[in-house]
């Protein structure tokens, strides 16, 4: 990751959402982006130039645009039409962002377009966040990782974020996704946990999907 005097930046043409620049680099604000917050808080997963990323919950393309600055290609999945307009505007001006308007709970609808990826980044406001991660895990290349931004409040507002996260971790493990790192994103984002997961079998995409069961 590129840091300039303690500030996280990415290399790319500015002016996507009015972000500030230093030395011609785009400042990546941890208060606006959960992924930036993850790096500020010691996240270890680096974005590399040859990486292919499946981005679930691309929203307005703010974080997507920074990820695209670092990696080869981002497959950006977003389901809502309003943010999709913004995402299209971003994708039209950046090199390799592939915008896909689809529901991340139904990967069957975009599996004909998405190749094997090295990283699945997931930031969706949905009670079934664990289910979504598990359903999309067949897209992972061997050794690939899932970075799940767990919105505990979208899962259950009545229980404490810590308990929701523990529960999610157990559920992930039962689906063959093991947590390598858990970071709470406070003070940048409240009640959000970044969970870095690796798929246990990690041998090949085909074997990885053996544990997959359709439906709920």
């Amino acid at each position: 990751m590129i840091w300039i005097g303690g500030t996280l930046v990415s290399r790319g043409k500015g002016g996507v959402y009015g972000e500030r620049m230093i030395d011609g680099m785009r400042i990546w604000d941890p208060y606006r982006s959960k992924l930036a917050a993850y790096y500020y808080l010691g996240g270890t997963l680096d974005l590399l130039p040859e990486m292919r990323v499946l981005y679930l919950g691309a929203a307005n393309g703010t974080t997507v645009s920074h990820v695209a600055d670092y990696v080869e290609v981002v497959y950006a999945v977003e389901n809502a039409p309003r943010p999709m307009r913004d995402l299209l505007a971003v994708a039209g001006r950046r090199k390799w962002i592939i915008p896909i308007m689809a529901d991340a709970t139904v990967p069957e609808t975009y599996a004909s377009m998405v190749e094997g990826v090295h990283l699945i980044y997931q930031d969706v406001a949905h009670p079934g966040q664990v289910e979504i991660a598990s359903k999309n895990s067949p897209f992972l290349e061997p050794g690939g990782k899932i970075l799940l931004m767990l919105k505990t409040r979208s899962i259950d507002v009545r229980r404490s974020p810590e308990i929701v996260a523990e529960d999610a971790a157990l559920q992930l493990e039962s689906r063959g996704l093991f947590i390598e790192q858990l970071l709470w994103l406070a003070p940048y984002h409240k009640d959000h946990a970044a969970m870095l997961c690796r798929r246990e079998d990690g041998v090949s995409g085909a074997e990885g999907s053996n544990g997959y069961s359709p439906g709920k």
Binding site: I100, S112, G116
Partner: protein, 286 residues
């Protein structure tokens, strides 16, 4: 055999798409679902082996074109849904009300400074009557502000009429039961008519009572009896003891009405007669 955006691949052969035109490639993907048990993600080299493209740049470039074309179409299809505009209109109306209330409050404060004997007590000073009072005041600047506010009142009235008319077309059954404004607000709070039509009656009953509902779930305080549907006269005019029952019945009938509105799109007189009767009985009327 596996289905991909650039063609169909099986163990020993590959049939690439004939056309490289984003529109026809995108049309081919319409309604496609790829079975994901024992799934292996596609490799872009397959498209090269197929003879569909020759470089990585070309692969990504064409895929991006196809996906952008598709997304464009999906967005425009979405904005053709008729309730989209209705929902924006009713949100605008509610926001105008909020703004006008704030402005009125401030204008009354301003007026109070100019008129030392002014008191709010013992008079009905809501909305328009406050404006009427202030208009006779001394400050020219304040009078000018108030004139603008009156224009907003006129605007609000015509917008409300517009909404009722449109709601009658888009939500004929809901409108017949609860009135155009309430029907439009329900669709707005649910997010869309499609979402409203999929809601159980118990959710429709408490739409718009979010705070009360969550404080009920969190602390176990008593649940809300009604949300937006309280604005309908049959609910708020009902006797206290019966209000919950009227709200429940109205919500149950609205849930059916919303489904008829979404899936059929026309008023159903037979249903409406039965539904009106049920709501009236719940309110204690024969």
């Amino acid at each position: 055999m596996s289905f991909y955006w650039f063609g169909e691949v099986s163990d020993d052969c590959c049939v690439p798409c004939q056309s490289r035109d984003p529109e026809s490639l995108s049309r081919r993907l319409e309604g496609i679902r790829v079975e994901m048990t024992n799934f292996t993600p596609l490799r872009w080299e397959m498209a090269v082996d197929c003879g569909f493209i020759s470089t990585r740049q070309e692969y990504l470039g064409l895929l991006r074109e196809v996906c952008m074309f598709r997304a464009d179409q999906q967005i425009s299809r979405d904005s053709q849904i008729p309730d989209r505009e209705l929902i924006q209109m009713v949100r605008m109306l509610d926001q105008i009300d909020e703004a006008v209330n704030l402005l009125t409050e401030r204008a009354v404060e301003w007026h109070a400074v100019l008129d030392p004997v002014f008191s709010r007590k013992y008079r009905e000073l809501r909305g328009k009557s406050a404006i009427d009072l202030i208009r006779q005041g001394e400050s020219a600047a304040l009078r000018e502000v108030v004139q603008e506010m009156e224009r907003i009142y006129v605007l609000r009235a015509s917008l409300a009429k517009e909404i009722s008319g449109l709601a009658e077309k888009i939500l004929p059954n809901c409108t017949a039961l609860a009135g155009g404004l309430v029907a439009a607000r329900l669709a707005s709070d649910a997010g869309s008519l499609a979402a409203l039509s999929r809601m159980p009656a118990s959710s429709i009953q408490v739409l718009g009572a979010r705070t009360a509902l969550f404080s009920h779930l969190r602390t176990g305080s008593s649940p809300p009896k009604h949300g937006i549907i309280y604005q309908h006269s049959r609910v708020h005019n009902a006797k206290r003891g019966r209000r919950g029952r009227v709200a429940r019945t109205l919500a149950a009938k609205l849930a059916i009405a919303a489904r008829i509105d979404w899936f059929r799109g026309a008023a159903d007189p037979a249903f409406l007669e039965v539904a009106q009767g049920a709501v009236n009985r719940a309110g204690g009327k024969p």
